[in-house]
Symmetry: C2
Subunit: 240 residues, 2 copies
Amino acid sequence: MTHKAAFTAVKTVKAYERVVEQIETAISKRDLRPGDRLPSERELMLTFEVSRSTIREALRVLESTGLVRSRPGDPRGPEVLQASPAILTKTVNRLVRLETIALSELVEFRIMLEGAACTLAAQHRTEEQLEAMRAAVDAMQAEIAHGPVAFSRADVAFHSSVWAASHNQLMQICGEATRGALIDMVTDGLDRAPDSAARMELSLAHDGEILAAISAGDGPTAGRLARSFLIEYYGDVISP
Amino acid sequence: MTHKAAFTAVKTVKAYERVVEQIETAISKRDLRPGDRLPSERELMLTFEVSRSTIREALRVLESTGLVRSRPGDPRGPEVLQASPAILTKTVNRLVRLETIALSELVEFRIMLEGAACTLAAQHRTEEQLEAMRAAVDAMQAEIAHGPVAFSRADVAFHSSVWAASHNQLMQICGEATRGALIDMVTDGLDRAPDSAARMELSLAHDGEILAAISAGDGPTAGRLARSFLIEYYGDVISP
DNA sequence: CAGAGTGTACTGGTCTGACCATGTATTTCA
DNA sequence: TGAAATACATGGTCAGACCAGTACACTCTG
């Protein structure tokens, strides 16, 4: 009779991957903390019993994920970095650009995101952030006289302050990524608007309403307003 | 008199980074498309005029970003991959685990996303997709008897069908990424729920309500329902 | 004794050249 | 015509070497 053994799938794991894995778990277990130094490549190749090429490939992928940084000549060895959402931004950006996405989808996504941000901002905003948003709206008012370009810069600043007030980094990252992608796609038609004066006044009024809802802590209203204003604003794009 | 030249900062760029950059832009410019093959490492080292180590390091970081995949022995060379949210999931996961991003943020983001998806699904769903959603709910009903694990699988399937019905790839990508991350984070506490039967019934009822709103084409209601149900479901996580 | 300059040892970045196991594509054979 | 054996280029890994750069200890000077 044969033994009933619980066999498990065997997949060959490349050497450098196991090195990456070990260092990665050491970091996520807090055995290695930001600011700590890894042993030098030559020491690592002894402890892991692999060649230096393997160690280097492992370090390259750790570096590309933002976990460590190597600097030539530093006798203290590679540095363990503080994890940062910046790497996420890069990934999201690439995904947004790489994927063949219709402009209407991108706009739609942005509208939903912006609405959500306003909702969250209404719930989470601090007094300082409220003040910043008010200042941003005042700046918009002032910039109307300087033309649509200056105005739209101020408009962006207002929305940024809303993102910040949402207290949600994921939201901010996605917002930034979609804004960047949108700019890339429609950059040419920015100031062609013939009725720019009226449009600016309208935008200002809309943002003022949103701010009022956020200020009142009324998340659903803030979100609904933002969405409907944006749908109006982008109407021609979203349903051509 | 000296020339007034516009000097610019000089930072040494590592060789493998320039290789990465070139291949990356080739991919983002669609010169290289998913399924295409890169030249072999030995050919690449000739065209880039660097050693094979450098080429390999470049390939490792491209691989860790999910852009290409190398398989030993394949004479056709490294493959250019389809962009996938999987890498996003991994990154989000790591950031949450390292507490750079709070779990509550992730949950919050997911709730807003899910609400938006329901709203869009109500507006864009086709007849077939509606049918698929109904089938998914029926499947949930049937799976209740088979325990919480099977049920939650069916639940996921229902939500997937909603994402699909939203007709928005970005939404789907972000949804998948956050779902993956959340599953990894809270997977252990899945079937510890003592009141699992009641919970399943409740989920089923909720999803039924959402489906009804989607079916009726009532986007705002669908979104509102989804958000409030999820807030209830994740209540303990989001405000501890 | 303090500070500026010099050394030096070790670091990471890159290169060369080699070996192995593997997957594909061709060739061979029935 | 189909299956089996082979050839060959591939990626994974290794060993050893050289160079430019950095940190740190060590001078030398005032």
